[in-house]
């Protein structure tokens, strides 16, 4: 059991530390694809380091909520990173929450961020918060439907069980999983504020969603938020890996499989980041009024996956 606790700690710390690396890798791929000179792989760390050492400027009207939010958001993401199986399956912390509670953890972080954005009372903060809520309320049902579809196949909403069932059963083609996978991809693009829903590098306030919310943050608060954004992307990637390509995650009590699991995780993350960069290069950011259609399609795909599961696979 104590070995499990150590492993749990290791995995969480690794996720927190490696998260900016995934963001850096994605940015590097994207720069290459767009014909720019790529930034260093460690650029995200440098940005975090810089921000942590900068002075923090607070608005006069800022309430304690505004100051607490970065910590809340960051701890939500660390919690999520502890729940999702990345290296080893069925760690002692994972029974804390199933996938539905995980959606709730993400929602908690989002609500705090939106409240903090409205707290100072700037126009852009409020605008960003409203847009974020518009995206969120459309993305959440789709995400839940994706989870339900996968749960139907694995007969559980507990992540360790889902991973175990999906990774160790006889290989079969599940059309429903394909539908759910595409829907999951669309939802994670929306939730992580990536193109085509939102542009993470935009400097044009009128098109911002996520960036507009955090305009008022600076210094270490901004660093924490940037870090949690990177961590969120990492957790979503890990979640996608756990649900749709779980092969390689070490089963319970098999320490020997850990190096291979690490290798598999790095390889899958690298491929995931590359695909994300390719899709971001191929697509343009869509108009905000198209976002409901985009997420509606994700919801539709998830529901179709579920229906097809009932028809073809049960």
């Amino acid at each position: 059991m104590s070995g499990g606790v150590v492993l749990q700690g290791l995995q969480t710390v690794l996720a927190v530390l490696a998260a900016p690396l995934l963001t850096g890798w994605t940015n590097q791929c994207r720069a290459r694809l767009q014909g720019r000179r790529p930034p260093s792989l460690w650029q995200s760390y440098r940005v975090l380091h810089k921000l942590f050492h900068k002075e923090t400027v607070l608005a006069e009207e800022a309430s304690p909520l505004f100051q607490a939010t970065p910590y809340v958001v960051f701890s939500c993401m660390v919690l999520a990173a502890g729940i999702v199986p990345m290296l080893a399956n069925d760690l002692p912390f994972s029974p804390v929450a199933d996938v539905i509670a995980l959606v709730g953890v993400f929602a908690l972080a989002r609500v705090f961020l939106a409240l903090a954005a409205m707290d100072v009372g700037t126009a852009f903060g409020t605008l960003g918060a409203r847009r974020e809520m518009l995206v969120a309320f459309l993305a959440e049902p789709a995400l839940l439907m994706v989870f339900f579809t996968v749960s139907l196949i694995s007969h559980s909403t507990q992540l360790p069980l889902m991973v175990h069932v999906l990774a160790h059963q006889k290989f079969a083609i599940y059309p429903s999983l394909a539908f759910a996978g595409v829907a999951f991809w669309m939802v994670s693009v929306a939730e992580n504020a990536r193109i085509p829903v939102d542009n993470p590098t935009t400097h044009l306030e009128l098109t911002m969603i996520h960036e507009a919310m955090i305009l008022e943050y600076s210094g270490r608060y901004l660093a924490l938020i940037e870090w949690s954004v990177a961590l969120k992307l990492f957790v979503y990637a890990a979640l996608g890996i756990a649900l749709f390509v779980p092969w390689g995650i070490a089963p319970v009590g098999e320490e020997a499989a850990l190096p291979l699991a690490l290798l598999a995780l790095v390889a899958k993350m690298a491929i995931g980041g590359l695909v994300l960069a390719v899709l971001e290069t191929l697509n343009a950011k869509m108009r905000l009024f198209r976002v409901p259609e985009f997420l509606g399609t994700a919801f539709l795909l998830a529901v179709l996956g579920m229906l097809i599961h009932f028809l073809l696979e049960s």
Partner: protein, 228 residues
Amino acid sequence: MISTGASGMISGWYLQIVNLLAALLLLISFAMLAQRRVVGLISLFAWQGAALAVSTAIVAVFTAQWHLLYSVALTLLLKVVIIPWFFYRLVRKLGMSRDVEPLLNHSLIMLTGIVLVIFAFNLALPISQMAGTVMRSTLGIAMACVLLSFLMMITRTKALPQVIGFMAMENGIFFAATSATYGMPLVVELGVALDVLVGVFVLGIFFFQIRETFESMDLRQMEKRKEH
């Protein structure tokens, strides 16, 4: 601590591929419902025909229903090559390759689509239990494709998308026949194929007439003219 509760009792990998193609057919039907561009619609129609042909070919080979291969050849020739090619040409000649058709209410149409799928799946359940084919579970998908094409014809206002919807419905019916009874007799299928081909050519000529008379391919124009 962990018990395996796998539901992987689908037997035969070829059936899995057929199921996957059936799911793809359903997806293409939804994509057609959402597609605004006429050219995109034609390519989707061609892809639907291709998926249909491949799945039918797999069934034909693995269940030794060799007569199905004639239908496959007919489908490939007609619905993947000739009709899409004819439509492409028509679109170019009529100068509507960049036409974008406004959809009335995207989300409402999609939700209606989901309701139709559930209805079709329920409708097909008792029928597929009676059928003796290996791919009987895909009957629901075939019926859903038919209903979705119906929905597409209802929601479109232009002539060409409606015709494509009609063709897609024919695809769905063909798929239903394959999954319920390993296809219809060859004579029937030849007749249907000929009907479709002639229908397409007649409609092609008709399109020019519509444009000549009403200066638009929008069928709402015709309704207006009638009232005057």
